[in-house]
Structure formats: structure tokens, C-alpha cells
């Protein structure tokens, strides 16, 4: 019984439920937005410490033995992702207090935020592939509702694309889960991994692997399936944009890391090239798309796509070092990308627009904001000694080791293009003086997204921005201990035996397998599956 695995899922659900109970009480909902996320951060730290010392922390729901019940399992990767989710969640909880208009608060912004976080942490912690689908849906439904909060035309148009493509991805995922169950007769991921190793190799395994790749590729916004993202992420209230940018696509990437290291590790030889080039094109198209934009949030949206490429490149290279680099990229990107969106919210409040051409002069007015942007933007581009540099450095090094020179070269060139976009934003917003025709230097009259006046509470927006900028700096400064954790993740992912044993018990006991064979009649699982592992 290890409650720390279940608590990161239960706490946001609880906070969401409490917020729902206090539907009419705005102060209570705002209090829960902070308190609930502080609690989430604390249990995430607890989980992280436990996984650091034990390697794996598991819990069987309802005490059903492993392949039958639903398993919650945290390895280092899950624990790190949950920790990052909690950090982003808390930052958003504070930031939303200042930016969410009363209209949005009335329509359940805070409960939805908690439910979204529950879906995300649930997806990170589950050890059951159908349960993963369920958490994806929890997350998606919450994100749908958040996306259309306010109901403006742009939001509706963006939402239709977002909803359609994400539902399509879900159905592909569900279909693949169904076929997988038909093949191996189990839904527990560790058990699937065990039986995949002995299932005879028909073409079906490759088909399934590709279906999972497409489904998660859509959710992660990988090339050529990313176009829903730049069409929708710049439409909702800015806090929602930031939350999505920090969390949602990363869940897709996480699912890819999990599925392709645990279940389809043997098809990687076949898929590696496809994934590698998918990653390269993701990087390039994202960064080129951003170069053409002059709207703050659209530029950032395209850069989400581009950065996803680095993470998938880490997976596609498929060495422990590359995977460590990929996860490092995820961690770095969650911090930095969220922060850039938060900064875009502040500049929007200060100057009333997201159009770069109409903004300017902020370096003189708000030097600290300029510094926070500088740190985040140059970290995104991979300038040392910030967090992005080390993520990129590890991936490039891993790429050179396996002699993927073209992909590595492109990854470096994309870094340069990212720098171009960031410098463009820097020049337009902070460096040049405010254009004459901008009529909004009405700095101290902030309005919420629905246009109603809010209390001037700019410090609530500054606080998360400064903390996140600082953590980007700190990730860069303390790169070595972080890299140590990332190396641990790389080793764990490429040696799935530990994961399987943590779920199924040390010997994957023959008794369980015997019992299984009675249920899954159309398969012929060998009786002593556990002993046959390499």
C-alpha cells in the first residue's frame, strides 16, 4: 500500500469536487485553486522522493493482483512528469486568479482546471492501457470545456478542429487497444510487454505499433498531424493556453515514450526511421511556421510543435542517453513554454494586444519582465547556460553517437531558427519603442478576458513568471543532478524488466499465468512466462 501513487490523481479530483460543491462561492473556488495545487505539489514531491529511493512505486487498485486489477505505477519518468505537472498547475492556479474574468469563473473554470490536472496525472501514473485511454478522455473533456470558455467565434472555430482531431486520435487509440487485447488477452501494460515478447511475429504487431504512433502523434502534435494545434491554442483565455501548452502535448509524448519502450520495443528497428524523420520534419515545419507569424501566441504555438520534435527525436534515437535527453527536453519545455505563454498574457494586459507590430517599449517600462522573457526565450533556443541548452546538448551528443548526422545537424539548425523567432519577439515587444498608433498605454486598468474590470493584481501574474524563469535558470545551473535523474529514466525505460517485475511481482508467478490461460482461451500463453525472459 503506497498512497503516494494514488494521491496525485485523487487530490485534484477532490479539489475539483470541492470547487464544484462551492459553485457559487468565488472566494472558495479561488482558494481551492491555490490550496489544491499546493497539496498536489507536496504529494508529487513525496512521490518523487519515493521513486528516487525505490525505483518503482506501485499500487494495485482494490488489491486485485496485478494482471487483473488496475495498477498504478510510478517509475522515475512518471514521477518527474507528475512533479512538473504539479509545478505548472500551481503556477497556473496563481496566475489564473489574476487573469480569469468573473464570467469564466462562474462557468466553472477552476473545477475544470483541477479535472484537467487529474486527467494528466492519471495518464502519467496508470499501468493499464485501457485506463490510460480513460485518463486521456478525462483530460480531453476538461480541455474541450476550457477551450471554449467564453464562446467567441475564434474559439469555436479552433475548438471544432481541436475536438475533431483529438477525438479521431482517441478512436484510433481505442481501436488499437481493442486489437491489442484480441492479440494478447490482457490490458495491463507490464503483462502485455511480457506476452508481446513471446507472441509469434505476424504483421499485426507492426500495424498496432503504427496505430499507437499515429494516435499519440496526433495528441503530441507531431508532423504531419499537428495542424490542429496552431489553429486552436491561441484562441482561449491566456491562462488556458499556457496550461495546454505546458501539459497536453507532453502527455502524448509521454505515452509514446511509455508504449514504445515497454510494449513495442522490438518493433523499434522497423519504426525508428519513420519516427526519426517524423521528428525532424516536426522540428522544421514548426519553426518555419513560427517564422511567418506576427502574433505572439501563434508564434509560441508553432514553437510547441517544433519542440515536440526534439522530444520525439530523443525517443527515435533510442539509446539511454537519447531518451534521457528527450525527457530533459520535456521537463525544460514544460517550464519554459508555459512561462512564455504567461509572459504573453502580461504583455497583453499591459498593451492590449498580441500583435507584435502594435507593441513595443516594454524593456524601458518593465525591465524585470524583459529579463524573464529573455531567460525563457533564450532557454527555448538553447543558449547556454539555460535549461534548453542542456536538453539540446544531450540529444545532439546522443545523435552523434549513433551517427545520425543529418537529424542532428537539422536539430542544431532548428535551434538557430528558434533564436530568430525569439529575437523577433524581443525586438518587437521589448526593444523598439511603442508605435504611435497604439492607443492602449492605459496600463493600470486591467480587464479580464471577458472585458470586465479586475482588481489590479499584476503581482499574481508576475510571481509565477519570475519563479518559472528562475527555475529555468536553476535547471541550467544544476544540470548535473538533473541529468543524473534523466540518465536513471533512460536506463529504466530501456530495461523494462524492472517495470514488469514491479507490477507483476518478482517472478511473474506461474500461478497467475496459469489462471490467465483459462480466461484468455484463444491464446496459448506458455505456462512459465516469467522464467523465459532474457
Amino acid at each position: 500500500m503506497r498512497p503516494e501513487v494514488a494521491l496525485p490523481v485523487l487530490l485534484p479530483l477532490l479539489s475539483g469536487a470541492i470547487s464544484l460543491l462551492f459553485w457559487r462561492s468565488r472566494p472558495m473556488q479561488r482558494f481551492m485553486a491555490v490550496a489544491g495545487n499546493v497539496a498536489l505539489l507536496i504529494v508529487s514531491l513525496w512521490l518523487f522522493v519515493s521513486t528516487l529511493s525505490d525505483g518503482y512505486v506501485t499500487m494495485q487498485m482494490g488489491s486485485w493482483p496485478a494482471p487483473f486489477g488496475i495498477t498504478l505505477i510510478a517509475d522515475l519518468l512518471s514521477a518527474v512528469m507528475v512533479l512538473m505537472t504539479a509545478i505548472i498547475g500551481l503556477a497556473m492556479g496563481i496566475y489564473s486568479l489574476a487573469t480569469t474574468g468573473r464570467g469564466h469563473e462562474k462557468f466553472g473554470y477552476y473545477p475544470l482546471m483541477h479535472l484537467l490536472l487529474a486527467g494528466v496525472t492519471g495518464a502519467f501514473l496508470t499501468g493499464d492501457i485501457f485506463n490510460l485511454y480513460v485518463w486521456f478522455e478525462v483530460m480531453l473533456v476538461a480541455s474541450f470545456a476550457l477551450l471554449i470558455l467564453g464562446g467567441e467565434r475564434a474559439q469555436m472555430e479552433g475548438a471544432i478542429k481541436y475536438v475533431t482531431l483529438n477525438l479521431l486520435a482517441s478512436v484510433i487509440f481505442l481501436t488499437a487497444v481493442g486489437l491489442l487485447y484480441g492479440m494478447v488477452g490482457t490490458l495491463n501494460m507490464a503483462d502485455i510487454a511480457l506476452r508481446m515478447d513471446e507472441a509469434e511475429h505476424t504483421g499485426m504487431v507492426e500495424v498496432l505499433a503504427v496505430m499507437f504512433m499515429v494516435a499519440f502523434g496526433i495528441k503530441a502534435a507531431a508532423f504531419p498531424l499537428f495542424f490542429w494545434l496552431p489553429a486552436s491554442y491561441h484562441t482561449p483565455p491566456v491562462a488556458v493556453s499556457a496550461l495546454f501548452a505546458g501539459l497536453l502535448t507532453k502527455v502524448g509524448v509521454y505515452a509514446m515514450f511509455r508504449v514504445f519502450t515497454l510494449i513495442f520495443d522490438q518493433t523499434m528497428g522497423y519504426l525508428q526511421d519513420i519516427m526519426l524523420w517524423g521528428a525532424v520534419f516536426t522540428m522544421v515545419t514548426g519553426v518555419l511556421g513560427a517564422a511567418a507569424q506576427y502574433e505572439f501566441r501563434r508564434i509560441l504555438s508553432f514553437h510547441i510543435v517544433s519542440q515536440i520534435g526534439y522530444m520525439i527525436l530523443g525517443l527515435a534515437l533510442y539509446t539511454p542517453l537519447a531518451i534521457a535527453g528527450g525527457v530533459f527536453a520535456i521537463v525544460h519545455n514544460m517550464v519554459v513554454k508555459t512561462n512564455l505563454f504567461l509572459i504573453s498574457g502580461i504583455t497583453h494586459r499591459l498593451q492590449g494586444t498580441y500583435q507584435l507590430k502594435k507593441m513595443g517599449g516594454l524593456y524601458r517600462e518593465r525591465p524585470w519582465l524583459a529579463i524573464a522573457f529573455f531567460i525563457s526565450a533564450f532557454s527555448l533556443a538553447g543558449v547556454p547556460p539555460l535549461s534548453g541548452f542542456f536538453a539540446k546538448f544531450v540529444i545532439v551528443r546522443a545523435g552523434l553517437e549513433v551517427e545520425a548526422y543529418v537529424a542532428t545537424g537539422i536539430a542544431l539548425a532548428v535551434g538557430l531558427m528558434t533564436l530568430y523567432s525569439m529575437v523577433k519577439i524581443w525586438n518587437e515587444i521589448f526593444w523598439k519603442s511603442l508605435p504611435e498608433d497604439n492607443l492602449v498605454p492605459e496600463t493600470a486598468t486591467p480587464t479580464g478576458d471577458d472585458g470586465r474590470l479586475l482588481k489590479p493584481s499584476l503581482w499574481m501574474m508576475y510571481l509565477p513568471v519570475m519563479v518559472l524563469a528562475l527555475s529555468s535558470l536553476l535547471i541550467g545551473v544544476f544540470a548535473e543532478p538533473i541529468m543524473w535523474v534523466m540518465t536513471g529514466i533512460g536506463d529504466q525505460l530501456l530495461e523494462p524488466r524492472g517495470y514488469i517485475e514491479a507490477v507483476l511481482g518478482a517472478s511473474a508467478s506461474a500461478e497467475d499465468v496459469l489462471l490467465d490461460s483459462a480466461v484468455a482461451t484463444d491464446e496459448e500463453p506458455k505456462a512459465d512466462a516469467g522464467e523465459e525472459l532474457p
Binding site: K161, L167, L515
Partner: protein, 115 residues
């Protein structure tokens, strides 16, 4: 039974994709609905269709006799149906709101946010 189901599922998928490729958002949602139904039927079928053998454990036995129907996909399908229903309800409300705002049942008129 299985071949018949396979054909039915294939037809459902094909119809769904055809509907989703139309320009009308109403047809788009109908396509989504058919697609989730197709996936549910697929799960139901791939696990094997066994008739007249409920997975009951006789008294005094520890496990069911071999050859019984697998109850798990049915539980899975139930969950999937419920999820699909909730999501569909959302999608229907969404297209209604979108129609109110855009005043057209046409995806080609919804390109403002594309780039």
C-alpha cells in the same frame, strides 16, 4: 458470426470517415459518432464472440471452465460507450454554438484561425 461482424465494422469505419470528410459540421459529428460505435464493436469482436458460455465459476471450483466468454471486453466496451456518449453530447452542443456564432454549417467558412 465473426466475418459478418468484420464486414459491418469495416462499413461503419468507411461510412464514418466518408462523413467526416464532408464540409458540413453536422455530418462531421455524425461521422464521429459512427466512428466511436465502430471502435466499440471492434473491441467486442476481437476478443472473440462466444455464445452460450457465461463466465461463471461453478461451486467449489477456483476458476471457470475453459471456453467461456471473456467478460472483460464487455466491461471495456461499456466504459467506452459511456465516454463516447459524454464526448458526443459535448460535440453536439459545440456545433450548435459554432453554428450560432459562425452562422454557417460549412467548415470552409471556419478558417479564420488557421494560418
Amino acid at each position: 458470426m465473426e466475418p459478418l461482424m468484420a464486414v459491418a465494422i469495416g462499413l461503419l469505419y468507411a461510412t464514418a470517415i466518408f462523413m467526416m470528410l464532408r464540409r458540413s459540421i453536422v455530418k462531421l459529428v455524425i461521422g464521429l459518432m459512427l466512428l466511436s460505435n465502430a471502435a466499440n464493436l471492434l473491441i467486442f469482436t476481437t476478443a472473440g464472440m462466444t455464445r452460450g458460455a457465461p463466465p461463471l465459476i461453478a461451486e467449489g471450483m477456483m476458476q471457470p471452465p475453459s471456453g467461456v466468454a471473456d467478460p472483460l471486453p464487455q466491461a471495456v466496451v461499456l466504459t467506452a460507450i459511456v465516454i463516447a456518449f459524454g464526448v458526443l453530447a459535448f460535440a453536439v452542443v459545440l456545433i450548435r454554438r459554432a453554428y450560432e456564432v459562425v452562422k454557417a454549417d460549412d467548415l470552409d467558412k471556419m478558417k479564420d484561425t488557421d494560418t
